[in-house]
Symmetry: C2
Subunit: 279 residues, 2 copies
């Protein structure tokens, strides 16, 4: 049927699509396509959320880095993530309870019926789905071992997940926190804003990974809390929990924190600016 194009700043990714499987216009515009080379593809408000080809690259790095940074994550909150991919990965750690707080129930419904990348996580009895605003949920929530934010790009629907108040609430309610933090190459303003707004976490760290169908292919994550970056410890947990992965491994986990010089400078500038202001 032609080409889907997602435009960034002065560039764009074209994906050949065979068929539009479903479309819904509600609080967000949700589309699921069949593509020629990437399997099924979920698009929200014109932005590629995932393809079957590389969703594991993203979900595994979003989930296993924080989950393996925690010694025993039994009680996990996912904010966003209505496609069920993050929950699927969390369940590999054998938690007692996973809460998904998704603001748009249509994402859950369409992904469950048409996308089916959740590996039945969205029907698992340990998984509780709450249709609610993530920040409002946090205001009344009890503690979690790990909180993972699997949001869309900042938009009117998701922007409350990127401000100082949100990070402050999250900090008080978990041991380990992780969120996606956008493309540092082509969305540098978003990236810097997330880094600035999360200053309540004094030990926050950035890690990066490769997600081919995200803007220019390099993606970033912010992690904070009680972290271990000891390879032997991470590797022991990975083997003990018998995690099976397509992309992630403990070597990649540690490597992902090694940033190229230009990105280290960006991160240091934001962190130093903050120290300067507070001095």
């Amino acid at each position: 049927m032609g080409w889907f194009v997602e435009y960034y700043n002065g560039c764009g990714l074209k994906i050949k699509v065979i068929d539009k499987i479903v479309e819904h216009r509600g609080i967000q515009r949700i589309e699921i396509y069949q593509t020629e080379s990437f399997g099924k593809m979920l698009v929200i408000d014109g932005k590629i959320q995932l393809t079957e080809f590389d969703e594991a690259f993203y979900h595994e790095m979003l989930v296993h880095v924080p989950m393996l940074s925690h010694p025993n994550p039994k009680n996990v909150l996912i904010i966003g993530g209505g496609d069920g991919g993050a929950a699927r990965e969390v369940l590999k750690h054998n938690p007692d309870r996973v809460v998904i707080v998704e603001i748009d129930e249509k994402v859950i419904e369409l992904c469950k019926n048409y996308l089916k990348i959740d590996g039945n996580a969205l029907s698992d009895e340990r998984v509780e789905i709450v249709i609610f605003d993530g920040k409002e949920f946090l205001k009344k929530a009890k503690d979690f071992d790990v909180i993972i934010v699997d949001s869309t790009d900042p938009s009117p629907v998701s922007m409350s997940l990127f401000d100082e108040e949100f990070f402050s609430l999250a900090k008080d309610r978990c041991d380990v926190f992780c969120c996606q933090s956008q493309s540092p190459t082509i969305q540098l303003n978003y990236f810097k804003e997330i880094l600035k707004n999360s200053k309540v976490f004094e030990n926050r760290r950035i890690y990066i990974s490769y997600v081919p169908t995200y803007p220019l292919g390099l993606w970033s994550f912010l992690i904070a809390g009680e972290l271990s970056l000891n390879f032997k410890k991470i590797n022991r947990r990975y083997r003990k929990r018998k995690i099976k992965t397509i992309y992630y491994n403990p070597e990649i986990h540690i490597s992902a924190f090694n940033l190229p010089n230009w990105l280290k400078e960006v991160v240091d500038d934001v962190l130093n600016e903050r120290r300067g202001r507070n001095a």
Copy 2:
């Protein structure tokens, strides 16, 4: 003036272009564009070779990994690389002599006059430019400390740089060998072929890096010879030679050899197939 598009398999990268600075149709079709967001861009036979925005990501990883794997690289051969970016990085190691063997003299001429990313390396007195076929040159060449192959995608002009004979000649003429080995996500056949054809190097290793304007953003390199992968040694050499970089650092150097699981499997399959055949 519109959009330049490079198509891969079922997808493509669009880049907004303001102006075509120069075009030449000879043994290859060479175009240099001014883009909106990526500075100047070199395109050969329809494929993006580099943009000012991210050429350092590629050239630094292509050059500093092999150069810092060698204790004292004074005599270096670059095959291809007519844009001068690789030579610019090699010169940071203070070699006595750099030979660039480029098959298409028009690449040198147009890059020197219009692209100007070589930092005057193409005019440096230590740099010798030979307009010749890379494989034919190797047949009569003396030894080099390091050989770096900065080729285009396999094409009628460059395909002699990817066959068994080429790797065999290269092995006999250097301590450390490195070549770009294409996109492992979207050009898996090329990647596997390079890995297979280089079997004369028993200790060959793959490393990966992020180059946003290359097909789907992940790029691979093959390195072989007398290698060190000891972080302290690499780091000491990096500091001693006072290398200044935008992307590369010794942590990234070591990390780049940590492959995601799916790619480790591809590499192991090719290597095991070979061992199976020879058993």
